[in-house]
Symmetry: C2
Subunit: 518 residues, 2 copies
């Protein structure tokens, strides 16, 4: 009991310095009830006085008038010593007495809204003006000395403080102060990370020596990839959020598939189409000005795998399409909006989740993933194809329709896990071979899918994410009906492969660029 008492700290003096002055009233009431002396300045002082509470101005507390338009007011030894001194250390108490300094037991602070500022304005000088100096300094002082001092650095914690003071009759517990300290260092680290990222962007620094990534929790997930793993999803910026409009909570794997689907759809530019994802790989993609047809064609690529899959339409879903989609079991449907009719139909399914991506657009230039204590970072592969990169190396030249179909196959191929082979027809995948250690195996899988579910007549296009090391893969494709192939080139057997293409009247295009994906 004695011990617990020692861990309790009575709040006698509070320093309040706020950028966001909302929700102050209930807090001030509790502070007044506990006879806490308030110190403040500027706008916060005025807000407190307006609510009819007594308050001492910082300038009177420190005997130092704020200068430089408020740039310097709390950066004063009387403030920082009052916060930082150790209450159980004699020499510290003496230092305070000698200087006629007073104890500050509670600091309530929040910072200039730097993150909001960079979202709202483009003027660099004004943005820099919004870097808070005094606030983070005070917050860090108080958070460091959590043993004696209570710090509240976000309006989100006002209620916690109110409850704590009520529970402990004007005191705070060590556990509470420690927790608030932890939140505060998250706050200051986050704040400077936003500034750091902004300055890196301004100076176009892609790979700084010290990289700091900041993100806000969207939600803790029921579990990770598997039920025995914990998982959560975070957001690095408030721009561009997916909007779930119906259904159960999204799972880790749902999110994984949704983001893969969005990434693929963003490569379509303005073309209308459908993507079906299963286990983070596309198992059916089709572009078609007719939305319903694009779904049916995408589904037809591998209707068995589509079962329980994630479907994205980069257009608004109408009643007719909804009826068609409802015929099979899907976990998630993503669209640029849903007609009311369509919504009604979908909502008959309890296990379906609906996502609106009308307001989703790409933000970040880089992707990263961690392995233990390492992070691999790379730029996105969403660049638009440049026709100059492509070289037709076969005797037979593709017409525009054929070239477009080859580029469609290659575009999808870059989102399929390597080694990847995509077979397509009329801007629709008809066979996808994914995730194999050998290219020939991926060819065989793609061919097997094509022959099992699709007709093999007419022009059939094939794309490979990397070069064919031997003739065998391309040979297998052509034997199975492929009439045109696009691949990066770069093999020592390129000549042999061109020769083979010509001997079989196959169109062969070199994309020059490789598209591994893991």
């Amino acid at each position: 009991m004695e011990n617990r008492k020692n861990l309790m700290k009575k709040i006698k003096t509070a320093l309040i310095s706020l950028s966001d002055k909302s929700n102050l009233l209930p807090l001030l009431k509790v502070l007044k009830k506990n006879k806490v002396k308030l110190i403040s300045s500027g706008g916060t002082y005025q807000a407190i006085r307006k609510l009819k509470f007594e308050c001492l101005e910082i300038a009177k507390f420190t005997n130092f008038n704020e200068i430089l338009d408020g740039r310097v007011k709390t950066l004063h030894p009387k403030i920082h010593a009052g916060i930082l001194y150790k209450r159980n250390k004699k020499s510290h108490i003496n230092d305070l007495k000698k200087n006629k300094f007073e104890s500050i037991d509670l600091v309530i602070v929040n910072f200039y809204p730097f993150e909001k500022t960079i979202e709202q304005i483009k003027n660099h000088s004004k943005i820099i003006e919004n870097i808070d100096i005094g606030g983070p300094s005070m917050a860090r002082s108080a958070a460091k000395n959590y043993n004696d001092v209570t710090i509240v650095s976000s309006p989100e914690n006002y209620n916690d403080l109110i409850n704590e003071l009520k529970l402990n009759k004007g005191s705070t517990s060590l556990d509470f102060r420690k927790k608030m300290s932890q939140l505060t260092f998250a706050e200051t680290a986050y704040y400077d990370s936003v500034i750091s990222k902004y300055l890196n962007d301004v100076l176009n620094i892609k790979f700084p020596n010290k990289k700091i990534i900041h993100a806000k929790l969207i939600e803790k997930l029921r579990y990770g990839e598997n039920p025995h793993q914990e998982g959560a999803i975070y957001s690095m910026s408030q721009k561009s959020q997916i909007n779930q409009i119906y259904g159960k909570k999204l799972s880790y794997n749902n999110y994984n598939d949704i983001f893969t689907a969005i990434e693929i759809s963003q490569s379509f530019e303005r073309k209308k189409g459908t993507v079906i994802i299963k286990h983070a790989n596309p198992c059916g993609v089709s572009l078609d000005p007719n939305g319903l047809r694009s779904f049916k064609s995408a589904l037809n690529c591998d209707p068995l795998s589509a079962f329980g899959g994630v479907v994205l339409c980069n257009f608004k879903i109408n009643r007719k399409l909804a009826i068609e989609m409802n015929k099979i079991f899907l976990e998630v449907i993503i669209a640029k909006g849903f007609n009311d009719d369509a919504l009604k139909i979908f909502k008959t399914k309890k296990n379906l989740r609906l996502i609106d991506i009308s307001k989703v657009f790409p933000n970040e230039m880089f992707k990263f993933k961690s392995f233990d204590n390492k992070i691999l970072i790379q730029s996105n592969k969403t660049e638009i194809f440049n026709s100059k990169d492509f070289e037709v190396v076969s005797k037979i030249k593709p017409n525009k329709f054929q070239l477009n179909n080859l580029l469609f196959a290659l575009n999808i191929c870059r989102y399929v896990k390597s080694n990847a082979i995509v077979l397509s027809k009329n801007m629709t995948t008809i066979g996808i071979g994914s995730g194999q250690p050998s290219r020939l195996d991926s060819c065989n899988i793609a061919i097997e899918k094509m022959t099992r579910f699709n007709k093999t007549n007419g022009d059939i296009f094939a794309a490979s994410d990397a070069f064919f090391p031997f003739v065998d893969g391309i040979e297998k494709l052509i034997q199975s009906g492929v009439t045109a192939v696009i691949q990066p080139s770069g093999s020592i057997r390129d000549k042999e492969i061109i020769k083979f293409a010509n001997s079989t009247n196959t169109i062969l295009v070199f994309s020059k660029k490789r598209y591994f994906s893991h």
Copy 2:
């Protein structure tokens, strides 16, 4: 010309406050040459005086004696106003004059070594004592006012400053000051991120509302997954680094494969074995007390795919094994050390890279990956199997050898991209089906590999990363020679599957846990 001149700022007064006092001499020489007045205190003051340079004590500059064992010395308006005032603003200049404050044009500071401290000591109070308050405050003030003030916050930039002052005869350019400001906010953000992570760990907070990740650049890579993508690798802590002892620079894909191999090998515990990786998937794994045999067996799983692969041996490689490995083309060989004889043999190959992982051990509990502006985070799946989780559901019960082999297959299975099927024999994979949208397809691929490269007699074990939705997959496996199966269970057809196993005298074990991997 006029404009450029205005952007130049003459350094007249410098404030120096250092935790790391190394490499000061050349810097002090240049400052002296340019008649810069130095202000400092404590250990830095003594270090400067010891090098025979003149220096004014901060206490004399501010007329305020440092208190609280140095906790409060630079947190003074005279310091911060001297840094923060805008040199082109009349009211600011007047504020300075009125208070008899002086200009501070250059701040050289580095912080208490918090990161080193938490690596070296465990005492929480001492760790907290190492949170620097004054340093970051000054650094942030100077970095905010980079328009007028030069900030150097790391000894790494002393030479840059020396060169800048030499080039501009005691002045600094706006570009330089901006660059230093950017580096400083990276420094303060990194610093508080380390503190934040430390406090999260102390309080066991896994998914904080605001998450900040800090990392140091190991190296910029030649490119990312593909030559047209930029890439880099970062490290979140200095503990546990892979050590490249021979060969060309590692590529993004090398790192990706190396980390996958290490992760798998860490699941072996103390058992000796070899892992072969291709395109981030294992294509051969074998445990064997005889290292040479473990390599040969792993290779035999899919010798074609192993071509150009990444091989990991969790033991020291000797001459005999090196001779065997040198027979095929490998990109990377990873081991817990190499005998000198082995090294000599490997060094005949120009394109081979050798990695020593003797000092690598797992650190982080969580993995993350980004998609545009989102981050998915989850705990690792490296938990050790618990025999209580497993339930033998077939009439025929596995003996210890059989159960061990089933667990081996399941263990590898959780590192194969889903849907994953692993076939094994004598603690060696003999067929791996990876990355398919349908489980049956993965079964077929695994079987195809087994029959192409391996004998199909004797006990053959199969593991599936998730339940079989239908009997067809397991039926196919058993028809192909599989004698025992382990799978999570959870299908509505579990009973049917048990019945089928019993009707074919197959051992069937439910692992209860699912092991998706994407």
